[in-house]
């Protein structure tokens, strides 16, 4: 299915949840924050939050800043 991740449309398969997506991308769940369709997802809901075709996902992390 096609999902937009950080502004880029990508084809992913076998992804059911946010947790699956982060694992697929090789990202550490404890180091990022995630939005699906402009909704912020709580970390303890990564397993229960579904990813569907056409979803717009933003994955951010902390960086240096003033």
């Amino acid at each position: 299915m096609k999902v937009t991740i950080n502004g880029k449309e990508q084809e992913v398969s076998g992804i059911k949840s946010v947790r699956d997506l982060l694992d697929h991308l090789g990202l550490d769940c404890s180091k990022v924050a995630v939005e699906v369709n402009s909704c912020v997802i709580k970390r303890d809901e990564y397993d229960q939050t579904a990813i569907s075709h056409g979803d717009v996902v933003e994955i951010v992390r902390f960086v240096g800043g003033g």
């Binding site: 991740i5 912020v40 997802i41 902390f62 960086v63 240096g64 003033g66």
Partner: protein, 257 residues
């Protein structure tokens, strides 16, 4: 009695907040933060680079030692700022936020209308809000009335190192403030930080001047001392200026008559 900085429900010994941007390396940043004595450090939030997930800045920041203050830099309006704040909270941060809404990339001046809008939403959503603003006393009052934990007026635009160019307005903000006033942005030298503290600011926030110096840990230590000196001078009571000389030595008993 200790002269603590109280913001929201927390107390701090240090009145120097430090940003984590622009350092040449994570270890330099870590050393500079330690030298500064800061207890509050700011960070930003950006998209993960999926092709090249880089080093995690949090692995260089001891969360047992520092309170992480995420900023909403990059936000062009209230909606983006609120999203960023909520993302930071979801990433496991304490619900504190440096609210920064800067649509113009040339001067990075904060949008007062969007800042007030976002502040209202975030305060209601349970955040401890520290809003970055121009040195506008009326805006500062409005923000305090809706419950922000501080106001953070700029000395000069971000990264310009020009010092306290907004002095008179900041003086009014300090005079009228019911929450701590943190002079944030534009402080380019420890003397600028001392000036802000001598005026009665409760704290300052410095990033560029420390990060881009040739020796960030040394500069951080200099800023630490300047903030302490400025605060102590303010508490001691800085004498009034006068036009005429006021002799320091006695005016009698001279060797001549």
């Amino acid at each position: 009695m200790q002269d603590m900085l109280v913001i929201g429900e927390r107390s701090f010994n240090s009145r120097l907040m430090v940003g984590t941007g622009k350092f040449s390396s994570p270890s330099t940043m870590k050393d500079a933060l330690a030298a500064s004595g800061a207890e509050i450090v700011t960070v930003a939030l950006r998209r993960v680079e999926l092709e090249n997930p880089d080093d995690d800045i949090l692995s260089h920041i001891d969360l047992g030692r520092y309170l992480l203050l995420p900023n909403t830099s990059g936000a062009r309006d209230a909606e983006e700022a609120v999203r960023l704040a909520r993302l930071a909270r979801a990433a496991g941060c304490e619900p504190w936020v440096k609210l920064e809404v800067t649509p113009d990339p040339y001067y990075l001046l904060p949008d007062p209308v969007e800042t007030l809008k976002a502040a209202e939403i975030l305060v209601k959503d349970g955040f401890t809000v520290l809003p970055y603003i121009n040195a506008d006393p009326v805006l500062a009052k409005r923000l305090q009335e809706i419950g922000t934990a501080t106001v953070m007026p700029l000395g000069a635009p971000i990264g310009t190192n020009r010092g306290v160019r907004t002095r008179e307005q900041i003086e009014i903000i300090i005079e009228q403030a019911t929450v701590p006033v943190v002079v944030d942005a534009g402080l380019g030298a420890p003397s600028h930080a001392a000036e802000a503290m001598e005026m009665g600011a409760d704290a300052v926030l410095v990033n560029t001047a420390i990060a881009v110096s040739n020796d960030p840990p040394l500069m951080a230590m200099a800023f630490k001392k300047a903030v302490e000196a400025g605060r102590e001078a303010y508490l001691a009571g800085i004498p009034e200026k006068s036009l005429r000389a006021q002799a320091s030595s006695p005016l009698t008993g001279f060797l001549r008559e």
